[in-house]
């Protein structure tokens, strides 16, 4: 009786392991780490003021650490958006720093970023 239960248990574990492997395979692979970027954009429009810029910055900086830890890139526009949040929070230097990073990572942004930098200055 006990042996039978033991075998059933083992089978269950095996099944669980198989499912876990399949789920792992099916996980979507993206080029970039998106983190909370789009959700924060949504929240800031859907419920303006519900998440203050400081908390959005915190969330994005956390995402950035997670991206770096796994050696992955953050998406286009991401650093410019973070720069914009720093600007809203009154942190001009960090804002400019993030805008420059955007330009360095994605040269396509140069014209727009230079314009934003000129506005901040």
């Amino acid at each position: 009786m006990e042996a039978w239960q033991d075998r059933q248990m083992k089978q269950r574990f095996a099944l669980l392991a198989c499912v876990a492997v399949l789920v792992g395979c099916a996980a979507p692979k993206t080029m970039y780490t998106w983190g909370s970027y789009e959700d924060l954009i949504y929240a800031s429009y859907a419920a303006p003021g519900s998440v203050p810029p400081e908390r959005q910055i915190e969330s994005m900086e956390r995402d950035y650490q997670a991206a770096r830890a796994t050696n992955r890139r953050v998406p286009p526009g991401w650093h410019a958006h973070l720069g914009y949040l720093y600007y809203q929070a009154g942190k001009r230097d960090q804002a400019m720093q993030e805008l420059r990073t955007e330009k360095a990572e994605f040269p396509e942004s140069a014209v727009f970023v230079d314009r934003l930098l000129a506005n901040i200055n």
């Binding site: 993206t30 959700d39 949504y42 396509e108």
Partner: protein
């Protein structure tokens, strides 16, 4: 009986096959391949005012993952507002020359939301997002691509798995409670941009750049 059923089925399948649209003509697109896309907040023809931003906050991911530089949508929106364009309607009137001057974008994506939101019916509630879009070359004004897609609720929140995992709980609560069409927008985008032979071509940052979708 059995055979006639099979024949009928085969015929139906052929009809369904014939009904497929022909592939999109990508001649202009291939002649002016954009690196960067500026997405304007969508024109909202639906009755749901939350549609504009419910949609706008789902459009960066699919375009960037297809290999394009996507300008930061909220920053662009804010910039245009501060420069005399307070509504999406006014932003859609902007001249392409002005877009090129301000942003240096290779192409502009104009999206129109035709339907956005829930329809409450006796038995169930349907959440529908219907959108059409056109991609225009900023320097020449040539139409590179246009498409249209509809998505209905089905499996909600799919496509948003990554974001859901990492996003703050407060944000998630706002998402699912107040605006279910927000999640459906992602499905609409996937149908709009990624449908084989009808969607967008891969951009330069994609490992599939130069291959058909």
């Amino acid at each position: 009986m059995g055979t006639s059923k099979v024949v009928c089925l085969a015929a139906l399948m052929m009809i369904a096959g014939c009904a497929n649209q022909p592939p999109y003509d990508y001649t202009n697109y291939r002649e002016h391949p954009p690196r960067s896309i500026l997405v304007l907040p969508p024109l909202n023809e639906s009755t749901a005012i939350e549609g504009t931003y419910g949609y706008l906050s789902t459009v960066s991911m699919p375009l960037a993952e297809m290999g394009y530089y996507v300008f930061p949508v909220a920053v662009v929106d804010q910039f245009l507002k501060e420069n005399g364009m307070p509504t999406a309607g006014e932003m859609h009137e902007i001249s392409l020359a002005k877009v090129a001057e301000i942003t240096g974008a290779d192409a502009v994506l104009f999206v129109t939301l035709q339907q956005y939101g829930s329809k409450y019916q006796v038995i169930s509630t349907t959440v529908t997002v219907r959108a059409k879009a056109k991609l225009v070359d900023t320097r020449t004004g040539v139409l590179l691509w246009e498409g249209e897609a509809t998505a209905k609720n089905g499996s909600q929140g799919s496509g948003n798995i990554l974001a859901d995992l990492i996003a703050a709980a407060v944000v998630q609560a706002i998402n699912s409670k107040t605006d279910p069409a927000h999640g459906v927008s992602r499905q609409a985008n996937s149908a709009l941009f990624s449908t084989r032979d009808r969607g967008l071509l891969y951009g330069p940052y994609s490992p599939k750049y130069g291959k058909t979708n």
